[in-house]
Symmetry: C3
Subunit: 139 residues, 3 copies
């Protein structure tokens, strides 16, 4: 059974320079950030999609070879309060800063996050996960 | 000969979890979605750019290993009617749902689409394809 | 020492079809575009992050095998003047057109740029590069 809705939530995309891979487990970071979103209580578990995109060509600041970046963009449905959006941003950054602590301890790393809203009238989803999670919760 | 305009249209970007590759031909999906855009009649053929980005690290919903996603964002020049945008969204979703039918039949897949508008005043293009297509149409 | 601010600037992301790689050095392009941003004088050097994402599945225009694209999106903090944004866009396009000259000379290439603004109230950064550059400038 599919659940179809016009509200799409939430997408977190991380672009990062490939030199980060030597020091970071990006899969572990995706999982941790997904848990932050789940624990916020304002997003349905079945809608959480965190993903990382490795960028193998890049130019960061003064182009020292150690320079690296991770840039996160969270897309959520419009309508959440400014307080909820702010709290979500702070929680995601705290989680990411912990994972990137060793990189942030050196003067070569730029971490960032932006939250943007999705206009529900021009978004669509077909999601086969929600029904499974609803059934599991009901059993 | 180059045709230069400040209106950029249309870009369709698909982010997807790499576990989709075992079951889906993403190139065939890109081609099919490109045809949907061409057949809509509201976009110039020479401006259509569909592309897929594989994400090898991701966290979807409750992180079952089968969980997968495909997330589409269509960027079009501002100025199309709400009706045209809505019809385009519905047609793209119908096409994608057909290609992802086997994944949507299992309770582990999230498919989504968002349409966003590009402000013409702050976009640029240099496109060498339009003139070739115009010449082919004229001959 | 970390410098923390709620203003994130500037991110330039290039999506491109992988058939471009045979003719273009995307790393050189990233470096050149980063220099254009630095030389504009309106962005702090420590905040510049240019990156390229290769798309191995794509459908461009009439799907001739030579068809290719490079699509750039520049995200900057809201608040720059329209004149500054326009001048930045023109300078980036001029640089990219020079690098892609051989592709633009054939009728199969689409190059584009869009500038979008980031709302400072919903963006965050933790950047360990700024302090190093400030110290270098002060010494």
């Amino acid at each position: 059974m599919l659940m179809i809705s016009e509200v799409v939530v939430p997408h977190l995309t991380i672009h990062y320079s490939t030199n980060v891979d030597a020091q970071m487990d990006m899969q572990a970071l995706c999982s941790a950030l997904g848990r932050v979103l789940a624990e916020s209580g304002i997003f349905p578990l079945g809608g959480i999609r965190v993903r990382a995109v490795a960028c193998n060509a890049y130019a960061v600041a003064d182009e020292q070879p150690q320079n690296a970046f991770a840039d996160m963009v969270l897309r959520i449905a419009a309508g959440r309060s400014a307080e909820d959006r702010h709290a979500t941003g702070v929680a995601l950054m705290r989680c990411a800063e912990q994972h990137f602590a060793s990189l942030l301890a050196e003067p070569f790393f730029a971490l960032s996050l932006e939250i943007v809203e999705i206009t529900a009238a021009f978004s669509w989803k077909t999601n086969s996960i929600h029904a499974r999670l609803a059934a599991a919760n009901a059993s």
